[in-house]
Amino acid sequence: MFRRNIIDLKVVASFIIFSLTLATVVLLQPNDTGISKIRNYPATVCPQKLSDGTSTSVLPSRDILVREIPSKKNLLKPAKSALYLSLNPLLVDGYNSTSINVTRSQSRSLATVTCAISNSEQWFVGGSGTVSSRASLVVTNSGLSLSVVDLVIYSANPAPSLVTKKIRANSSKRIYLDTLAPGESSIVVRVVTKSGRVTTFLYDQRERGLQKFGADFVSPSNSPEKTVVIPAISSVPLVRGRSNQMLRVLTPGKVGANIRAQIVSNDGSFAPIALDNITLESNVVADIAFKPILKSRNFSLVIKSDQPIVAAVKSSGVFEGVNEFTWSTAASQLEDLAMHLGGLQPDFVFTGKKFEVRISWMLKNRKILSKTLIGDDLATWRPKNGILWVSFLPSEPDIFGGIIFKEQAGLSSLPLVAGAQLESAAVPNLDARVIARE
């Protein structure tokens, strides 16, 4: 058995082939699981015209597919214009950059909101049900089936009220807050989508008789959290120094909360007296006025609580000679984001600890520029000219951003949050095994 030359040449040759095969397989061992990945953006909805002025949806391109709601045919068609004027809510095909809606009223108030698709739960911290309020919730069902939405109204009354609304397929419903919470000046609305493809906007509009007090969209906030960052609050000195800042905050749980808010600005970070160590009752909406004395145009507010809270800041006063207010709402951590601005020139405010944000933008002449914004605590960037779109690439996870629009038409702010998050990295696979008994 062990004599020399006992192995046949055929065996030697086949063994060499085997060894080479083995070596090749080991070296090139594929790790492909056979599962492909896909990234997708859901379609978003822009609000309809809600004022006596104009409603412009700033879209990614003129070729993007849109559909007005309601429409006879459920077909998407090219928008034909990147600045889409529409009386109706507009369904915008999924895209990797965010569209916004800019609503300007004849009374020179400015309202902006991100065109979005709702999550199953949204918090609107803003609005009022008093006689001077024309605030309304606009619930749009862009889907093809009946939608059911629960509206939970929080106010100064510790017992929240629940209203369930049914929205027909491919339609929109405007619900005034004074019908939901008559006489309540401080309102927080929690919108829970039970079924259907629903997008909700809160448009806060104040007027008394012929006197207008301004208008703005209240951007939706995330679910309650113990740390809330409102990144972009305007401190533009309004006429005669009549700037008012009011923090609205709610602890939507069974237990009240102790909160402490800190202003972060280029002038430094501090806790104003009015916002230092506040005790809140649960389920009661509290409005806390404060007047920070700041040189900088913008600041951020970081609120820390021992219980999950939702919060927003209303900045109001006389702007460019007219009454105006804006709701600055909480933002989630800044992620890669591209947004279409249609030639606007807003302030971008970022807050965080020692951060960098890579910013790229396109001018109206289609020229693309970029820069890296470096900041610690707060950094503000304002483009020199109007820009068509802008994208942000944050270096750190704990960076929050917001936009403040200041133009003759009024004042408005937005959190820097994508209207539609990149959805479901895992692509569903066709697999007959799901109907096999295992």
């Binding site: 063994f15 061992q29 397929a169 066709l430 008994r437």
Partner: protein, 1028 residues
């Protein structure tokens, strides 16, 4: 003359010169003298007449086409009946091919003495050539027309029938009859010119109140020349001179004219049924003439019903007793079945013996037992002789029994979770019945996913046919199959090893190693039906393969037998099919290249059409017939090469590279890697033996292929996964085991002879490893191994209400979604869980569905519900555990209404889902039409567009008032038809081509089966030595 009888002997001759000398001599030498002899010759063309005349007999000559009854009547007509009070005339009917013994007549007469009720008495008939062979001691007829003697095949006379008995009839060969009764009964029926006239006469005598008896001590030798086709049958009634045709026709005639009216339908049914059955048998035995005789016999009777009616009328006039009188003489069904079983058994034995003989001619391996010098198990005498001792010794002395018992016991314990309807792993749910599997195979449109026109692999039909064993219960067959697989695998390897000349003990060890191998237990636990079938058939298949490339010396029958087995294996493994075909073609090419000088010398054409034609034809038959037998499925495999590596059932990933290197295909619930099977060690040992160089090289080649494919992913059969290499490993194991057993067997004597050394150490190591593997696999199998993917009676996946809806005319579909380890999977169901055979025809979903599902899950959907609705998908079912985020996404997408959330999962209803078949009229109104599972039929009252919620296929056909409408494909991949008239519509999937291909496949299969079976012989071809 001691008795009071006058005996007139009537000898009928017809070309009987071969037997007449002995017959005349025997008649002349009777101890009881014959009073009068008359010879009748029916136109003999040999020197029969001369012989009869020379013997001093009076010869009456008649026409050549005269029947036997005519001849007797002629003889009786020529003599005057003896009419004396003291004497009764007897007639002794003699054939020219029968030779009575000296005392035959005397003993026959003794049988009639003092028995006035006895009309006829018959002798014991023995063979002319084999004089011990018992032919008849009285006869009857079976209800299917078979001539019934009650004797075993080739039964020898040992005096076992030497007691006179009452019988239905006796043969006319040497029958002694009372002339008076004979004539009263009308003699032999002229309709029965030859064959069965004796049974008919006896039947008539019985119902007329007479008896028929045997006188077995009277012995007559009978050549049965006409029945054994030793002379031509020239009677007028013999169509085309075919004796079998005449025999079958007369048999049917006897039954139909004598049976009761109320029994006639049953008798007719049996005659027709048995004729068809026998015809098939004769076709299988390649005797088409006999098959035609069977069918023509029935046909000839049917076209001449008048003869039957006249015959029945005549018999009714002579009948005194009820026809029930003869019932006791008609053999019961059980006797016929027993006889049939014995014949099948004998045929099979003969067949396998024939195979064995052929193998022996081909294989050089010849042992002493082969040439009959010693008993077959001589080599194992030392193991078999010690009959006394303990029960352990008893077991040791019966290793085969031990192996069978051990594997069965282990399997039974390991299968404790597999008693019942099995599913899981690669195995789908068993359908309700075997016919469902046959239907899956024969149908052109499969209700899997969004529908499929893919060709079903033949193993589905084979499984359906095999389930006949369990009376059509597929689940029971599968359950038994999985339980018995280890035992059957053991036996398959044992038999294969024995055929290779390995002793019983080593064959048993081989069987145990094989049955306890990781590949077999892994396949059982993962529901790999295909691999298991291959595991059972491959050892036998490889053992019958020729060991030479000189195929011209192999009989065509063996070639077809090999192709049949190869086709069977190919039906369960497309990889085998491709490998087999390519390997043979490469071998042919290689052999031609080797002989290129010779080819160039004689020229290609001359070479091809010369002596090598036989070899080339056989090469091509072996290479191509398995593929042809598996067509049309094999064609689809070739056209879709990714299918080649797919196994039957759902794709299920195999194991890691390390698993493969230890010849363990791995995968979920497979044999763990620490049970290191000894096959790699065996392979190394084998590589050191030049004798097995070919096998070793082949193993390395297959091993290399296994390594390559095991690491690849493949999508098919409705899912994806790493390629399973189990089938390859089966062949590798067999190729290793047989040589290693031979090496081990030879090694023992060497070890005894040599001093202790490295060889001993390696041998001990291999032995320890072998024992460890067998024991550890057994212990694992009965412990952890029992918790396999395949278990019995699993919970249904699809909710009951969705299943119930599937039978409505709307025929809704449901998308089932599940999440497993961050993978989201989905499939479309028609209301039932995945059944056996379903994955094998599953094809890709239309792109629109894929996109809609992706958008649904990602929340990016705008019109998913519209797409689903158009495809007739009415529900979305998310199996538990439900990912709440995805559920919320679906809630938020729109177009889906959550209808329930139960323990099994969450269900959404798709808003605006269409029925399976819809008509959209010109105003846009949509009306649902009645739909069956595949087709649809309804009245349409308006023109418009008929849409079918199935995947588009050009085979869809719509007929409106009989007019065909062309199918078109919508932009999302739905078939639709533009209808311009109202009326009756029929929607169907045209399976004409598919059915034609399957018919061709069946015909080809039947032809190959027939060609692989041993050919039958016409009776005229049976050599005299084999005749009775």
């Amino acid at each position: 003359m001691a008795d009071n009888f006058f005996v007139t002997a009537i000898l009928v001759s017809h070309d009987g010169a071969t037997w007449l000398p002995e017959a005349i001599a025997a008649i002349s030498a009777q101890s009881r003298q014959i009073d009068h002899i008359v010879a009748v010759d029916t136109g003999s063309i040999d020197n029969s007449v001369k012989m009869l005349t020379s013997a001093g007999l009076t010869v009456i000559k008649t026409d050549r086409d005269a029947g036997f009854g005519d001849a007797i009547a002629l003889a009786l007509g020529s003599t005057t009946r003896v009419n004396r009070d003291d004497s009764e005339e007897l007639i002794w009917i003699l054939h020219d091919d029968c030779a009575p013994t000296r005392s035959a007549l005397e003993l026959l007469i003794a049988g009639l003495v003092d028995k006035p009720q006895v009309a006829f008495v018959g002798p014991k008939l023995r063979g002319w050539y084999d004089r011990k062979h018992l032919l008849e001691v009285g006869i009857s007829i079976a209800p299917n027309g078979a001539r019934w003697t009650g004797l075993d095949a080739r039964e020898h006379d040992q005096g076992q029938f030497d007691k006179p008995t009452e019988v239905l009839a006796v043969s006319t060969a040497a029958m002694l009859a009372r002339r008076k009764i004979f004539e009263e009964l009308g003699g032999l029926d002229p309709n029965l010119a030859l064959f069965r006239d004796d049974v008919d006469l006896g039947w008539r005598a019985r119902v007329a109140g007479f008896s028929v008896m045997t006188a077995p001590e009277a012995l007559v030798y009978h050549a049965e020349a006409a029945a054994s086709e030793r002379r031509s049958v020239d009677v007028e009634e013999a169509f085309l001179h075919r004796p079998r045709l005449l025999d079958r026709k007369n048999a049917a005639f006897v039954l139909l004219v004598n049976a009761s009216w109320w029994l006639l339908p049953w008798v007719a049914l049996q005659i027709i049924g048995s004729s068809v059955f026998r015809a098939i048998g004769y076709l299988a035995a390649k005797l088409p003439g006999y098959a035609a005789d069977e069918i023509a016999a029935v046909g000839l009777l049917i076209i001449k019903p008048r003869d039957l009616l006249v015959g029945r009328k005549l018999r009714r006039e002579k009948r005194l007793l009820s026809p029930r009188t003869v019932r006791q003489f008609i053999p019961p069904l059980s006797s016929q079945v027993r006889l049939w079983a014995e014949k099948v058994d004998a045929a099979l034995r003969k067949f396998f013996e024939a195979n064995k003989k052929e193998d022996e001619r081909l294989d050089s391996q010849i042992s002493y037992s082969d040439i009959g010098v010693i008993d077959e198990s001589f080599d194992d005498q030392d193991l078999l002789t010690n009959s006394s001792g303990s029960s352990w010794q008893s077991i040791r002395n019966r290793p085969l029994l031990f192996g069978l018992g051990a594997t069965l016991l282990i399997s039974l314990i390991a299968s404790r979770n597999r008693f019942g309807s099995l599913s899981g792993g690669a195995l789908g749910v068993s359908p309700d019945g075997a016919m469902d599997l046959i239907a899956k195979y024969s149908e052109s449109w499969h209700l899997v996913g969004m529908g499929s026109a893919a060709t079903t692999p033949p193993w589905v039909a084979i499984l359906g046919v095999a389930s006949a064993i369990t009376f059509g219960k597929v689940w029971l067959f599968i359950s038994l199959f999985f339980i018995l697989t280890p035992t059957l695998a053991f036996f398959a390897m044992y038999r294969s090893a024995k055929r290779a000349g390995i002793s019983i003990l080593f064959s048993v060890i081989g069987g145990l190693l094989y049955s306890m191998s990781p590949v077999i237990w892994g396949s059982i636990n993962q529901g790999r039906l295909g691999t298991l079938v291959i595991a059972l058939v491959a050892p036998g298949f490889l053992s019958i393969l020729p060991r030479t490339l000189e195929f011209e010396i192999i009989s065509w029958r063996k070639i077809y037998f090999i192709t049949l087995l190869a086709a069977f294996l190919a039906a369960f493994s497309s990889f085998f099919l491709i490998f087999w075909t390519i390997a043979l073609l490469v071998l042919l090419l290689a052999s031609l290249i080797q002989r290129r000088v010779e080819i160039s010398e004689v020229g290609v054409i001359k070479f091809g059409w010369g002596s090598d034609l036989a070899r080339i034809k056989r090469f091509f038959a072996l290479a191509l017939v398995p593929g042809l037998l598996n067509a049309p499925w094999s064609t689809s495999v070739v056209l879709n090469p990714t299918q080649i590596l797919l196994e039957p059932g759902l794709p299920l990933s195999g194991g890691s590279l390390l698993n493969i290197l230890t010849l363990n295909p791995g995968g979920p619930t497979a044999v763990p890697g620490w049970i290191f099977a000894p096959f790699i060690v065996f392979l190394v040992i084998m590589a050191l033996h030049k004798r097995f160089a070919f096998e070793t090289s082949l193993v390395f080649l297959l091993f290399s292929i296994a390594l390559i494919v095991s690491q690849a992913n493949n999508f098919g059969h409705g899912s994806n996964g790493k390629i399973w290499t189990g089938t390859l490993m089966i062949f590798i194991l067999i190729l290793i085991l047989i040589p290693i057993l031979k090496i081990a067997e030879n090694l023992i004597s060497n070890l005894r002879a040599n001093k202790l050394g490295a060889m001993h150490a390696i041998s001990i190591f291999a032995m320890v490893l072998t024992i460890f593997t067998i024991f550890s696999t057994s212990i694992w199998a009965v412990s952890n191994g029992a918790n396999s993917l395949v278990t019995a009676n699993k919970k249904e996946v699809v909710p009951a209400f969705i299943e119930a809806l599937s039978d409505t005319t709307v025929r809704p579909k449901t998308i089932v979604i599940s999440e497993n380890r961050n993978e989201i999977n989905y499939y479309v169901t028609r209301g039932s869980d995945l059944e056996i055979g379903d994955p094998d025809v599953a094809v890709a979903m239309p792109k629109a569905i894929k996109t809609a599902v992706v958008e649904l899950i990602s929340g990016a959907s705008i019109n998913s519900s519209q797409i689903f609705g158009a495809f007739g998908i009415q529900y979305i079912f998310f199996k538990n555990p439900v990912d709440e985020n995805i559920a919320r996404t679906i809630d938020g997408v729109g177009g889906f209404t959550r209808s329930s959330a139960t323990n099994s999962g969450v269900i959404w209803e798709v808003v605006g889902s269409s029925p399976r078949v819809t008509l959209t009229d010109s105003s846009g109104k949509v009306v649902g039409l009645n739909s069956s599972k595949v087709g649809a039929a309804d009245e349409i009252t308006s023109i418009g567009i008929i849409k079918l919620a199935e995947k588009f296929d050009s085979g869809w056909n719509l007929l409106v008032n009989g007019n065909q409408i062309r199918v078109q494909e919508s932009d999302i991949g739905l078939p639709y038809f533009e209808v311009n008239e109202t009326g009756t519509m029929t929607l169907l999937h045209d399976g004409t081509r598919h059915r034609a291909l399957i018919s061709a496949q069946l015909i080809a299969l039947l032809a190959v089966i027939i060609l692989s079976l041993p050919a039958g012989r016409r009776r005229s071809e049976v050599p005299l030595e084999e005749l009775a």
